[in-house]
C-alpha cells in the first residue's frame, strides 16, 4: 500500500488513483484520464522503454491514446480502428 502511494507521487501526485479489490486483497494503481496518460504515463515509458512483448502493447496503447486525443474515437471509423487495435493487444495478440 505504501508502495502504491509512492506510485501516485512518482507520477506527479495527482495522476491516477488507487483502487482496492476487497475480495482478493489486490491493490490497483489505475490511470484512466486521457490527459494524465498522454502527459505523464506515455512520455515516461517513451523515455524509459519496457523490455519484452509489452513494448508492443504499449505502442498500441499509445496509438489509441493519440486517436482519442484527436477525438477520432467519436467517429465511427475511429472507433472501428480502436476496436481493431484492441483485438490484437495483450492476451489477444497473435
Amino acid at each position: 500500500m505504501d508502495l502504491m502511494n509512492r506510485f501516485v507521487n512518482f507520477f506527479g501526485g495527482s495522476c491516477g488513483k488507487i483502487n482496492q479489490d476487497s475480495r482478493s486483497g489486490a491493490i490497483y494503481y489505475v490511470v484512466q484520464k486521457l490527459s494524465d496518460l498522454t502527459e505523464n504515463i506515455i512520455p515516461f515509458f517513451d523515455k524509459h522503454p519496457l523490455i519484452g512483448v509489452k513494448v508492443k502493447d504499449f505502442e498500441d496503447f499509445k496509438q489509441v491514446a493519440e486517436l482519442m486525443k484527436s477525438n477520432a474515437h467519436l467517429t465511427k471509423e475511429g472507433l472501428e480502428k480502436i476496436r481493431e487495435i484492441r483485438l490484437n493487444m495483450n492476451s489477444l495478440r497473435k
Binding site: 523490455i51 519484452g52 495483450n90
Partner: protein
Amino acid sequence: MELVFSIRLHIKDLAALKSIQAFFSGIGKIYIHEKVGEATFRVSSVKELELIVNHFDKYPLITQKWSDFMLFKQALGLIKCKKHLTLDGLQEIVNIKASMNLEISSPDFPNTVPVIRPSVPKINSSIDPFWMAGFVAGDGCFSVHLKKSPSSKLGETA
C-alpha cells in the same frame, strides 16, 4: 531439499528470459514448456544461487518479495553449512519455508513453527525510473476498454 530461484514468463518473452540469463553470466537453465506456453529460467545450484543473492544484496527489492528474499538467504546459509542434513536443521529450514511466498504448512512436518517474516524496510528515497519501467513490464498492463455510452451517437466509447 533444494532451493530454487526462478522467473517464469510467457513463451513470447523467451528473448527477455535469455537476456536475463546472460545478465547473470549464463548460469541456470531455461526450460520451455510449449504446451502451456511458458518459459522458465531456473537456478538451483548453491554456487550459482550465491550470484543471485549477491545481486539482490547489491540492488535490494522493494516490495514484499524483499521478505521472501531474506528468508531464502537464511535457508541458503543453512544449506551451505550442511545443516539441512540433520533433522533439526531440516526442521529449521521448513520453519523458514512456512513463512515464504504463498506457502501452506506441510503435514509431513507437524512440528513446524513458522519463523517471523522480516518486514520490508521503509525507504524514503524516490522510486528509481528504471525500477518503475521494469516493474510495469512485469506486473503492469496497458489496456483499452470499450464501454456502452448512451450519450454518444455511436452508443459506445473508448
